[in-house]
């Protein structure tokens, strides 16, 4: 199990009650999402993507010790 930091932005930060960043011990991003959805059920109803160490991911990824996982709602800059 790896200790990772979880941060959130925009609407996702709002949905999680702005309680992130937090740390959690987990092995991969799928497991992390399952855990997050039990902690913050409202997350299941909004669209967001994951970035691991600032890189967007599109499928399950193993997590390294100390990784930063960001929960990113659809971008809407500019």
């Amino acid at each position: 199990m790896k200790l990772v930091e979880i941060i959130a932005f925009g609407q996702v930060a709002a949905v999680t009650g702005y309680r992130l960043p937090i740390t959690h011990e987990v092995n991969d991003t799928d497991s992390l999402q399952l855990w997050l959805h039990t902690q913050y059920p409202a997350l299941k109803n909004i669209r967001y993507a994951l970035a691991v160490n600032q890189k967007m991911i599109s499928q399950n990824e193993p997590l390294a010790q100390g990784a930063t996982v960001a929960l990113l709602p659809p971008f809407s800059g500019g």
């Binding site: 925009g10 609407q11 967007m56 599109s58 960001a70 990113l72 709602p73 659809p74 800059g77 500019g78």
Partner: protein
């Protein structure tokens, strides 16, 4: 705005540059940026895109401002990647990008993208592609604030399908 001089000039160091400014981009700042290019006499054309906050009406309520936030470390790294790709693709003399953070009122400017090249097509094509990539790929979020202080999150392209 003088204290906020982010991404600069034609220098292409492999190091993220700040593109973010607090609050709106002023029209005066745009004019001053243009004026600074008079000494670069190899330039034949400048292309500029400016994003302005619209007073959209949503469910009967009018947007008074947009509040912008970002995942800054990721945004600046992504901007560096975009910047390098655009410089590699187009023979530009200069490229400048400024994006607002925090509160920007309706009618004010929130994005300033500025490219310069010897010939117009290079400057125009580079600017257009830059704007599209910035909108699609930079982790920035706008919260549309109504006149009664209620808000909605502004939604555009999904981040899990960034355009390349």
């Amino acid at each position: 705005m003088e204290k906020n001089i982010p991404i600069g000039d034609e220098i292409k160091k492999r190091q993220p540059k700040n593109i973010f400014v607090q609050g709106p981009v002023s029209a005066t700042f745009v004019g001053d940026s243009i004026a600074k290019h008079a000494s670069k006499t190899g330039i034949g054309g400048h292309s500029i895109f400016l994003g302005q906050v619209r007073a959209d009406v949503i469910d009967g309520k009018t947007v008074a401002a947009i509040d912008y936030t970002t995942y800054e470390a990721m945004a600046l790294e992504k901007m560096l990647e975009i910047r390098e790709a655009i410089f590699a693709k187009y023979p530009l003399t200069c490229m400048h990008v400024y994006h607002s953070l925090g509160n920007v009122a309706a009618g004010q400017l929130c994005l300033f993208v500025f490219t310069s090249a010897a010939h117009r097509r290079q400057a125009i094509d580079a600017c257009t592609e830059l704007v599209e990539r910035i909108k699609a790929e930079l982790p920035v979020w706008g919260k549309e604030i109504f006149e009664d202080d209620s808000f909605v999150w502004k939604n555009s392209s999904p981040p899990d399908h960034p355009k390349e």
